[in-house]
């Protein structure tokens, strides 16, 4: 598949921070791309460069096969920043119309799309309300609608579920899947790992301005797996202990957690256990959660970035 976005050796230095330092990645058309990283890793700066708000100090951005041209390409991008922003005293209908027209839609087009989306998200009655009358979750929904209203090719969502109850979070999640199915590409920036596992095809992990992980969710999990298996027995056996094939690393109730030694396969474990006459009712691999991988990779590096002086001419 074609890459909708290619980022090559992107750098952005501020006076006291190397916010983004030599980051490259590609995003496939129609995929849901997770950008992960702890607070202050440089995600927002990276996104701001992709949305044309910042100019990179170095490196290049290729959008739909051509060099990214902020002024023209911006209308094909929808960006929902982490810091949500709407005019508090403006009526909701007018606000949606204004933001849509800023993205280059004509008035008639914008009205049609707004009607469609307001109906879809059950927001029709909001038209004459002001943002200051909405709850946090409601304004979140409005923000999402204004982001995707102009049917952008690339949708960038920075923490889209924060402040949403499970019902509304699911509503938005379904919309994200639907948009991706219809051909939009979605960049999803967060530090909530369980959502990433559920939604994303491909992830990168950013820490301290560097990319430290890049791959599909499946591959990343494989890469970090520790050959752990969980075996469930009919009756809790007391005779199994560590041996040449595996090591017992934990037990709960009727289940044991085994770590297979190098050189052996799950197959060998089963054979070993069956040979001893145990009745096995379940056998499955324990893959690390993204959360574990995230913590393992980020841990050990100081969480808060120290400020440093950087020569501006670099």
């Amino acid at each position: 598949m074609q890459n909708i976005l290619e980022v090559h050796q992107l750098k952005k230095y501020f006076s006291t921070q190397k916010a983004v330092d030599d980051v490259s990645f590609n995003i496939e058309q129609g995929s849901i791309f997770g950008m992960l990283g702890p607070n202050g890793a440089g995600k927002t700066t990276l996104l701001r460069m992709i949305t044309g708000i910042f100019f990179p100090d170095n490196g290049s951005i290729i959008f739909e096969g051509k060099k990214f041209d902020a002024i023209n390409d911006i209308i094909r991008i929808g960006y929902m920043p982490e810091e949500r922003g709407l005019y508090k005293k403006m009526k909701i209908g007018e606000q949606a119309l204004y933001l849509a027209r800023l993205k280059g839609l004509s008035k008639a087009e914008a009205m049609e799309k707004i009607r469609f989306w307001f109906q879809r998200m059950e927001m029709e009655s909001w038209w004459n309300k002001k943002v200051q009358d909405l709850s946090k979750g409601m304004s979140q929904k409005l923000q999402f609608v204004t982001t995707v209203l102009h049917e952008p090719k690339l949708i960038i969502l920075d923490e889209p579920f924060s402040g949403l109850d499970p019902v509304n979070a699911n509503l938005i999640k379904d919309e994200i899947f639907r948009l991706a199915k219809n051909g939009s590409t979605i960049i999803f920036s967060t530090h909530r790992m369980e959502q990433v596992e559920e939604i994303c095809d491909h992830i990168i992990l950013i820490n301290k301005g560097h990319k430290i992980l890049d791959g599909s969710v499946k591959n990343v999990k494989q890469e970090f797996k520790e050959n752990l298996f969980q075996v469930g027995f009919e009756k809790r056996p007391s005779t199994i202990s560590s041996n040449t094939v595996f090591e017992v690393t934990g037990e709960k109730a009727e289940r044991l957690i085994l770590k297979i030694h190098e050189g052996y396969k799950p197959h060998d474990v089963l054979q070993y256990l069956l040979a001893q006459g145990h009745e096995i009712i379940s056998f499955n691999e324990i893959l690390p959660s993204l959360n574990d991988i995230f913590i393992r990779l980020v841990e050990g590096t100081p969480l808060a970035r120290a400020f440093q002086t950087i020569n501006a001419s670099v």
Partner: protein
């Protein structure tokens, strides 16, 4: 360009549709015309409060009678066979509000005259009494010096110098007083406009920053478009407000005479107006009108609009930059606003000097220096300014507007996306000199 138009439209419409806009737009002319009507009403009806004044005239200054002036509703009663001490405790009970005591005195000395009252006396009443006493004393002294008061009245002079300005196209009459008043009003108006609409721009930018909407907008439009759109939109709000004020004031001036026929029939009655004019000073009103007519009205209006626009655009850019760097902290905003307020206040101070001495060095400097020129030049232009100075001043204003918009846009661009951090002057400087 389409985006700027959209932004201008939003800035304009949201402000014009607000209730507070409607309120100030309608209230201000009402208040101004109301004051105007009250002043006229008071000046026509004279001192409204009537006093009953008891006079113990031991010097026999008034010969027992006081000529009542027009509109003087006070009554004067001469009392006899009393002393100051004996009457002082009683005048209130006998129905007098004031008690004037004039002791006997020599013609060469000034008498020690006392006015007893329960509370501090109205200034109008006091000065009216002083006027009457002065006239009486003068008269008495004239008679003592064997001068006929009637002859003296004819001898007395009260002169008003006419200033003829010899500017190419023949002689023009000018009244310094009229030019002075027009200059002052124009200068103050410009000062207030810059301040009010400048801070409106600043608050608008701060609102966008604190609401975090700025980041959403700049992912659709360039920060410069957002800044320029806001400045132009709010400027248009200002112009609309002025236009409405002018129309409403005009209408009110037509309507008020219908609502209060009493007040204005007096004013428009030629006999009374003429009498009033006579009383003020022979033909002073006529001279004021003539003075107004001799002013270069066309030039003044043109300059007013030009300096309003130029000054507004210049200061709005500065205020926008300030608004973009402050975080939510109001106190911080005040600190940062100070350097922008300084030249405004300086301009106002120079303007008050310039209307007294329009060709002094400081006035010329102030009317050329772009940060003060909108205010100071309005203070000078009624007196006639050399063309080269006017041209240079306008050119400098336009150039500095372009320059300041260029550099403030750089600060603005970075400032609006920076949250929760206090920006130092040094950092702002770095944003300015940074390339890109």
């Amino acid at each position: 360009m389409n985006k700027i138009r959209l932004i201008i439209e939003r800035e304009y419409m949201t402000r014009v549709k607000r209730k507070s806009f409607l309120l100030t737009t309608l209230l201000v002319p009402l208040v101004i015309v109301g004051f105007y009507a009250i002043i006229i009403a008071v000046s026509i009806s004279g001192e409204s409060n009537t006093q009953r004044i008891a006079i113990l005239d031991e010097a026999n200054l008034f010969n027992g009678k006081i000529e009542s002036e027009r509109n003087d509703k006070s009554t004067y009663t001469f009392i006899h066979n009393e002393t100051e001490e004996s009457f002082k405790p009683r005048y209130k009970n006998e129905g007098y509000s004031l008690f004037l005591y004039i002791p006997e005195f020599n013609n060469d000395d000034l008498p020690h005259i006392k006015l007893h009252s329960q509370a501090a006396v109205n200034l109008f009443v006091k000065s009216a009494l002083e006027r009457k006493i002065n006239v009486a004393i003068e008269r008495k002294r004239l008679i003592a010096a064997n001068i006929d008061p009637e002859i003296y009245k004819n001898i007395k002079a009260d002169i008003e110098i006419e200033n003829a300005i010899d500017s190419g196209k023949g002689e023009k009459k000018s009244i310094a007083g009229v030019a002075y008043a027009v200059s002052f009003i124009a200068g103050i108006l410009i000062y207030m406009i810059l301040l009010i609409y400048g801070t409106m721009v600043m608050r608008g930018v701060m609102e966008e920053k604190t609401n975090r909407i700025a980041e959403v907008i700049v992912s659709s439009a360039k920060p410069f478009q957002l800044m320029l759109g806001k400045i132009i939109g709010i400027g248009a709000v200002g112009l609309t407000q002025f236009a409405i004020w002018i129309v409403v004031m005009g209408l009110l001036q037509l309507i008020i005479p219908l609502l209060f026929p009493g007040v204005f029939s007096q004013l428009s009655d030629p006999a009374i107006t003429a009498a009033a004019a006579q009383r003020v000073n022979s033909g002073k009103l006529v001279m004021i009108l003539e003075g107004l007519r001799s002013l270069p009205i066309g030039l003044i209006v043109f300059c007013f609009i030009f300096y309003f626009l130029g000054g507004y655009l210049l200061y709005a850019a500065l205020f926008a930059a300030i608004g973009s760097v402050v975080s939510e902290d109001q106190q911080e905003a005040q600190q940062l606003v100070f350097p922008v307020m300084m030249p405004l206040i300086l301009g106002f101070v120079i303007m008050t000097k310039a209307i007294n001495d329009p060709d002094s060095g400081i006035a010329v400097f102030g009317s050329l220096f772009p940060l003060t020129s909108p205010i100071v030049m309005m203070g000078r232009v009624t007196y006639g300014v050399p063309w080269w100075q006017l041209g240079l001043s306008m050119l400098l204003l336009v150039l500095s507007f372009l320059f300041f918009t260029w550099i403030t846009a750089k600060i603005y661009r970075t400032g609006i996306l920076l949250y929760g951090k206090k920006v130092t002057w040094r950092e702002m400087w770095r944003w300015l000199v940074r390339k890109g």
